[in-house]
């Protein structure tokens, strides 16, 4: 396992959740957490519990829908899926993130 793990940046969790739901389709909370950790190759340190307030927030904003369902192994779980608003939000936020990270990189690399 990677020894230098990074906290999830403030405000980026929503983006990660939206992206995960876009790639994977409807998922439950644990699935989303697993996926984020897998894709980040365990570099991101995610307190899985903090996912749920984020999910509620996204639901309130109309970015995702939540529905109770049953998993493959017959367990009850709440499934989240992306809405049209969420798709739009993801596009916007991704563009915003690209811009922001490019700017910060430029500043950090800048020499006299």
């Amino acid at each position: 396992m990677n020894t230098s793990r990074t906290e999830v940046l403030q405000g980026t969790l929503d983006l990660l959740v939206l992206k995960t739901l876009q790639t994977m389709g409807p998922m439950h909370g644990f699935g989303i957490a697993q996926r984020i950790q897998q894709v980040s190759e365990d570099v991101l340190r995610l307190n899985q519990g903090t996912l749920y307030p984020a999910l509620l927030r996204l639901e309130q904003r109309g970015c995702i829908n939540a529905k109770w369902g049953v998993s493959d192994n017959n367990r009850k779980a709440k499934y989240y899926s992306l809405t049209a608003t969420g798709r739009k939000q993801l596009k916007q936020n991704t563009a915003g993130w690209d811009q922001m990270s490019a700017v910060i990189n430029r500043v950090l690399r800048a020499t006299l």
Partner: protein
């Protein structure tokens, strides 16, 4: 705007159905932990180890519930209510302090009301006469000294100048003895000139004319 409304609606519902929100989260957390424990066991952990790891990865369950609640309802109103309840409890616990506090606040309010009533009556309230904002008191300045005392000829002359004041009257404080000869009563009154009556919307009693 639509999203704001939607958010408010969901929060309002959440506020009223706090119980349900909590139960929903509770169930969701349980479901999450079961998934995690199962996954951990598949990776070869013992039951106990799997549970511990799952809880560790989840983080503080109570903290999450607190965050979830804050996201769910109207936290400002809820904490305000909490503070109010706490305040009431503390007041009930120390009745002496409460009595002193309530008494001083009551005295403060009482004193303010009394002073304000006085100022209102003396300074703020319009006199109960027609067109009170155009009622003036005439003073005269002689040799740098202001005086509100005029002789009757001066009053009469001023009253005739309708281009300055539409109406002008003079008065002079004067105590009167009123009543039948057997029981006279000393009454405070004033002698007034004719212009006084229409301005104050009084009409002299017919007998007095």
């Amino acid at each position: 705007m639509r999203h704001l409304l939607r958010s408010v609606a969901i929060r309002a519902m959440a506020s009223f159905r706090k119980q349900r929100l909590n139960e929903g989260l509770e169930e969701e957390c349980r479901s999450h932990l079961e998934f995690a424990i199962e996954r951990n066991k598949q990776q070869g952990m013992t039951e106990e180890q799997a549970r511990r790891e799952a809880l560790l990865a989840f983080g503080g369950v109570e903290q999450v519930k607190e965050m979830y609640r804050a996201q769910g309802g109207f936290p400002v109103i809820e904490t305000a209510l909490q503070d109010l309840r706490y305040g009431m409890r503390m007041l009930r616990r120390s009745p002496g302090f409460t009595a002193v506090t309530v008494l001083s606040i009551a005295l403060g309010i009482g004193a303010n009301v009394a002073i304000f009533s006085l100022i209102y009556a003396l300074l703020l309230r319009w006199l109960p006469v027609p067109d009170p904002q155009n009622l003036m008191q005439v003073n005269i300045v002689i040799d740098g000294k202001s005086s509100d005392s005029f002789s009757y000829p001066v009053i009469k002359a001023l009253a005739e100048r309708k281009d300055v004041f539409a109406n002008l009257g003079g008065f002079s404080d004067n105590p009167f003895t009123v009543g039948p000869p057997s029981a006279p009563v000393l009454t405070q009154g004033a002698l007034v000139s004719g212009g006084f009556f229409p301005r104050w919307n009084y009409s002299p009693a017919p007998d007095a004319c």
